[in-house]
């Protein structure tokens, strides 16, 4: 199963091709080696379309207005967080309702590291993003590893409730630790994104604030997404899947449960911490009340609506949920009976919240694989068109 045994066994059986061998032309689904089967972009169509998508995403920097770029940048950061939750819940099967807690830890680590030294709040003045971003991830990962021993003792819904308790405890700590967080209702300035001396949250010669942040978030999302895809097809990813599918069976075939559960929580929290550090650079302001159960539920919704245990699904889910907000905000001009005023009864905020809930329920009942499943269905339909099977 491991890389070493495979390459060691290869010379003994020369008939079985290993490594990267040539693809047979015109036979896109014929794999002649394990590496081909595991390749991320295994067909030309995938390579071309993924390339085009990435180019389009970068091109949006100049095509879209600053306000739309800001929304999309937020969506990309949320996608990083959603990928993190998908690693622990989707790939490793450990239900976590405590994602907001780890996001908060990342946000405050980053804010404290990059905050002004002599300001009202804790700050160390290290504004370089390549220092505070990994730091935010690592501190959150450390917290995840600390929590993991509970996860190894608990299963299923017990774990869900314990992680839910974590959110409440975290909310309390962050509300009380005022020199770090500024306290409820007051908040503090968020992390300062600065790359090699260039402030990315100010308009500069390279572009407007939104353009710079959008590019940064997009680039980071690609890095994190590719890393997660690679993790999923590695030894670790296979171990996660084994633990998820049947933990006792996994242990019997020699997967150390404790180690992989701790690892899953650690990696997931790393993603959450990085997302937390980045998320608030866009608004420039963190408030301790925002890391509530609602945020955890949002992440769960992204994972479930996007598609469990798929990276592209997490991104689609994050885009979907984050874009839902501006879409519902524009409802009053389209639908006359929905009001933009919070004091009236069918108002946009109520519609938005109801949509969250309904979408979760409807997706789980009718399309458990989420948006990713819808995509697979559409793809398969056209692949075999005009035949229905």
């Amino acid at each position: 199963m491991t890389e070493t045994t495979r390459s060691a066994a290869a010379p003994a059986a020369p008939d079985i091709p290993t490594g990267r061998s040539h693809r047979v032309r015109g036979r896109p689904l014929l794999y002649t080696s394990y590496a081909q089967d595991m390749a991320l972009l295994d067909t030309r169509a995938k390579r071309v379309w993924t390339g085009l998508l990435v180019v389009l995403a970068f091109a949006l920097t100049v095509l879209l207005q600053d306000r739309s770029l800001e929304v999309l940048a937020t969506a990309y950061v949320m996608a990083i967080g959603a990928i993190g939750l998908n690693i622990v819940t989707g790939y490793a099967g450990q239900v976590s309702l405590g994602h907001a807690f780890f996001v908060a830890i990342g946000a405050y680590t980053a804010a404290a590291l990059s905050g002004p030294v002599d300001g009202q709040r804790l700050g160390y003045g290290i504004a370089e993003i390549w220092i505070w971003l990994p730091a935010a991830g690592l501190v959150a990962a450390a917290a995840g590893v600390l929590v993991a021993p509970l996860a190894t003792r608990l299963r299923g819904l017990y774990l869900a409730i314990v992680t839910l308790g974590l959110v409440f405890l975290g909310e309390h700590i962050f509300k009380e630790w005022q020199e770090l967080t500024g306290g409820p209702g007051v908040g503090r300035e968020a992390a300062v994104p600065q790359l090699f001396g260039v402030r990315l949250d100010q308009d500069g010669p390279l572009g407007t604030k939104e353009q710079l942040l959008y590019t940064l978030m997009l680039a980071l999302l690609i890095v994190f997404a590719v890393a997660a895809r690679n993790l999923a097809r590695s030894r670790i990813g296979r171990a996660f899947a084994a633990v998820r599918d049947r933990d006792i069976a996994a242990e019997v075939i020699g997967v150390p449960l404790t180690r992989y559960k701790v690892l899953a929580f650690g990696i997931s929290s790393f993603y959450a911490g990085c997302a937390g550090g980045l998320l608030y650079t866009i608004s420039g302001y963190v408030e301790p009340g925002s890391f509530s159960l609602l945020m955890s539920v949002q992440f769960i919704a992204m994972v479930l609506i996007g598609g469990v245990a798929t990276v592209s699904g997490s991104i689609a889910g994050a885009l979907f949920i984050t874009l839902l907000q501006p879409l519902t905000r524009s409802l009053p001009s389209l639908v006359p009976f929905v009001s933009g005023d919070t004091t009236q009864t069918p108002n946009v905020f109520q519609v938005e919240t109801v949509l969250y809930g309904l979408l979760i329920v409807l997706f789980l009942i009718f399309e458990p694989r989420g948006l990713f499943g819808l995509w697979i269905r559409i793809r398969n339909y056209w692949k075999s068109w005009p035949f229905s099977y």
């Binding site: 017990y158 769960i300 969250y356």
Partner: protein, 295 residues
């Protein structure tokens, strides 16, 4: 000493409300193996229903009517959203209830509006003296009503046909089905009972301080209660609820004096700390059944 006893009685009062909610969670869990995160919404709906009906029918009739109404709502939820999901992973069903909770709460919030709605209850903040102790009468009402309801519930499970059916289905669904127990009926009954209990709990939460949009958070305190007691133990739910209530009340009274470094309002999160400590010692709670896996 007098202060301590009064604190404990307040804790037992609040704890009995948590116990009612926890019983709802446990009944649903035993029947369907799912934790229903829709309980907070049902609780809020119950409280709001009482606050509207009390103006028309008087308080006591309103309590019974709204409890029945919420039981019906719970039945509807079970039929529409939970029944189609039989056989699917429990986590998925739990998340569905989370989605339902969000939806129902938005609808209920529209009825609450921005103000605090009063229950129209006869207790309010009035106090009675029990010998040397002076306690609020609503704590005593909560304790008494919960004691009666718990006794009725246990009698229902012990002595009636439907109670027996529910116990059988909780023990082994397939065998129960083979003996002629309608498991679907058991699912429906468990949701109905949970809705009924949640509505009564909601009414008690609203006594005195009234009900507002944020009141639903209180229902989540039943989660530490069921974990402390053990997910599948009815007695554990009652004990867990009372423990959580008393612990919270003790922190409310004494933490400012003895442990100010824990921060204001630590009492609100103290149930979760108790839950973590209990879980570290006993992963299945105080009275929960240890899960035995067949490999």
């Amino acid at each position: 000493m007098k202060g301590l006893l009064e604190t404990i009685i307040r804790g037992l009062g609040n704890g009995s409300v948590y116990a009612l909610l926890a019983l709802g969670f446990v009944i649903i869990y035993k029947a369907t193996r799912v934790i229903s995160f829709a309980q907070p919404a049902l609780m809020l709906a119950g409280a709001v229903a009482v606050s509207y009906l009390a103006e028309v029918t008087g308080f006591y009739a309103a309590v019974i009517l709204s409890a029945l109404l919420i039981a019906l709502v719970a039945l509807g939820i079970e039929r529409v959203a939970i029944r189609p999901m039989v056989g699917r992973p429990v986590f998925v069903v739990a998340i569905i209830t989370l989605g339902i909770d969000v939806v129902v709460r938005v609808v209920v919030n529209a009825f609450i509006g921005r103000d605090v709605r009063q229950m129209g209850d006869p207790w309010g903040f009035t106090q009675v003296s029990l010998g040397p102790l002076v306690v609020q009468s609503r704590w005593l009402a909560m304790l008494l009503v919960t004691a009666v309801l718990v006794a009725l519930l246990f009698a229902f499970f012990r002595y009636t046909k439907y109670g027996l059916a529910m116990r059988a289905a909780a023990f082994d669904q397939e065998t129960a089905l083979a003996q002629g127990v309608s498991v679907g009926m058991v699912f429906a009954l468990s949701w109905g009972l949970a809705g009924f209990l949640a509505a009564i709990a909601g009414m008690f939460v609203g006594t005195g301080q009234g009900v507002e949009q944020l009141t639903w958070i209180i229902a989540l305190k039943a989660l530490p209660a069921i974990i402390v007691g053990g997910l599948d133990s009815l007695g554990g739910a009652v004990v867990g609820g009372l423990v959580v209530g008393v612990v919270e009340s003790l922190f409310q009274s004494y933490q400012g004096e003895f442990a100010p470094w824990l921060g204001q309002n630590f009492a609100v999160v103290s149930p979760y700390v108790v839950m973590l400590i209990v879980l570290l010692v006993r992963p299945y709670g105080l009275f929960g059944t240890r899960e035995v896996e067949r490999v």
